[in-house]
Amino acid sequence: MLRVVNLGAEVEGTPILNHVNLYIKEGQTYVLFGPNGNGKTSLLMTLIGNPSFKITYGRIIFKGQDINDLSTDQRVKMGMGISFQYPPKVSGLKLIDMLFNCAKQSGTDPSKIYEYAQMLNMEKFLNRSLNVGFSGGEVKRSEVLQLLTLNPDLVLFDEPDSGVDLDNIAIIGSAVGDLLDRKKNKDDRKKSGLIITHQGHILDYVDADYGLILYKGMVACVGDPYDMLDEISKKGYEGCVEKCLKGFQNSIKT
């Protein structure tokens, strides 16, 4: 589904991603951990093609095609989708109109919109301007609602569970599970995902396949996401990364 090969990227001339390699197969979900300011959001922005993030070297291959030069909307039309950590407010553009657009893009039956909105407890917000006056949890639910309607094949989630209370995490987690085919048998899963999380609450609802730690713009560790979360909570990021890098250096030596 997605292959990131030795990717480097910068924002306003400052390097923020260094030699990132990543391979997500169809049906797989990855979790991305890492301390604040280490490039997690930047990686997602580079993958989706935010024009502020410039690729300096390496390649992004999506569905077998090099997409380095494609604009964001072209990537989305190919089947990528993203939920933002902090999406902007768009005053005057109603959530419902955004959802109609998403449904049109994906060929989703517009009547589904109301079903999804109900699922995410967002019916009351359909006629409100996008993100204007939404609380933290409402923003996250609105993001996931848009993704359900857009129905992408590769879904990138930037901290869908941050600042969200436990009831809402259950609602969001269930929807993320749907989006990533996690409720299906392993062999029937078609959707792929990359989820950024700090506390890992979302992992109570979404069983991810692999975990990564992004450290100083580099992928420092790869492993079982649940073990990783456990280690992070015990040793902190620094401890984990130290251990991984040691293993990494050993593997280079041998």
Binding site: N50, T72, D73, F84, G92, S129, L150
Partner: protein, 368 residues
């Protein structure tokens, strides 16, 4: 166009249709059309609404002279003086006490010849009535020069509600100088919506609303798009005299090469006056300019007046956000501009809301 106005030239009909002037009596409670100085059509289909030419009205009602040149003063400036002439024309619209008419009234002023059009209108919403007016002003295609001078005097009586939606559709060579003012009595509500999105040479107006009555309200909204070389200098002033009265002035201005002066003034002249002024501007071109001039004046310690003004270009972050949902750059820009222009206008009938949407639709393509 219905058979009501068969004697109109085809090109006038076409233009009226193009700018969306609705003359269908199934959809309007009354219609009025003036071409240059001549009243072509003036009729009401609803018992609660009176709609006649101003000359006829002045002949019919002696008392109307008490309303004529009352809230706008004759010698305010050179343009008001110019309208004080024999061949002035215009409309008289009045909703009778206690009546509420479902359909809006349509009043259209059309400039066909390259002379000065001089108009004097009087609008009265009698006690406990509700009156919704949509007024379109347009000029003839290809008119190389022309000027529209219009006096409008509005009277909102006790507990009446009057909404006046003005959509301007001029051409590049036309100069437009309306002079309007309103008096609102106890419990009255005056809603004004002013929309101009087509090229024009110059528009200059600064209507004043006098909230003389207690618990009276004024909501003044404007949506302005100035294309290359257009100068639009407009705003609203509300003078709050009545107790418990409040004013809101909202404007959205987009410059696509034109110059916009977006003015607003709220005078708090009652002990508990409340007012808010909001002026947002968006620059869509390297040319042109937007100048926001908000003013607030408090004459008592407890008045509550505020203003908010911001001018900028369209936010890249918002464009990118919409593109991440599959919008192309142009589609995203259009959706954001549209959202920017979409002011939530309270208390406006759906038919008029639709009208404003249509006006935005018409101009959308030219903006991107």
């Amino acid at each position: 166009m219905p058979e009501r106005i068969p004697k109109l030239d085809k090109d006038i009909k076409d233009k009226l249709e193009k700018v969306g002037i609705e003359m269908d009596k199934e959809k309007r409670s009354a219609i009025f059309l003036q071409v240059d100085q001549n009243v072509e059509t003036s009729s009401s289909f609803a018992s609660g609404v009176e709609m006649i030419g101003i000359k006829q009205a002045l002949g019919k009602y002696d008392w109307l002279h008490d309303y004529y040149w009352k809230v706008v003063s004759k010698d305010k400036d050179q343009y008001t003086k110019e309208v004080d002439v024999e061949d002035v024309n215009g409309y008289f619209i009045r909703s009778l006490p206690g009546t509420k008419v479902d359909f809006p009234v349509e009043a259209c002023l059309y400039l066909k010849s390259p002379k000065k059009q001089k108009v004097h209108n009087i609008i009265i919403a009698e006690e406990n009535s509700e009156l919704n007016i949509i007024s379109g002003c347009a000029s003839h295609p290809g008119l190389t020069t022309g000027m529209h001078l219009g006096i409008s005097e509005f009277y909102v009586k006790k507990n009446a509600k009057l909404s006046f939606t003005m959509i301007h559709n001029w051409e590049t060579n036309i100069e437009v100088r309306p002079r309007s003012a309103a008096i609102v009595e106890d419990g009255g509500i005056y809603i004004s919506n002013y929309i101009i999105m087509n090229p024009v040479k110059i528009v200059q107006s600064y209507p004043t609303v006098h909230l003389n009555g207690d618990n009276s309200t004024a909501i003044m909204s404007s949506i302005i798009v100035a294309m290359d070389n257009s100068i639009v200098d407009t705003g609203s002033r509300v003078i709050i005299k009545g107790k418990g009265s409040s004013a809101e002035i909202l404007s959205r201005a987009i410059s696509k090469g034109g110059t916009i002066y977006s003015r607003g003034d709220i005078v708090g002249d009652s002990p508990d006056a409340k007012g808010h002024l909001e002026c947002m501007g968006m620059m869509l071109s390297e040319q042109g300019s937007i100048i926001a001039i908000p003013e607030l004046e408090a004459k008592h310690p407890n008045v509550d007046l505020s203003h908010e003004a911001a001018i900028g270009k369209i936010a890249e972050e918002e464009i990118f956000y919409l593109m991440s949902r599959g919008f192309t750059r142009d589609e995203a820009t259009a959706a954001i501009v549209r959202g920017f222009l979409d002011i939530e206008i309270k208390g406006l009938p759906i038919a008029l809301k639709k009208k404003i949407d249509e006006a935005i639709n018409l101009v959308e393509r030219e903006l991107i």
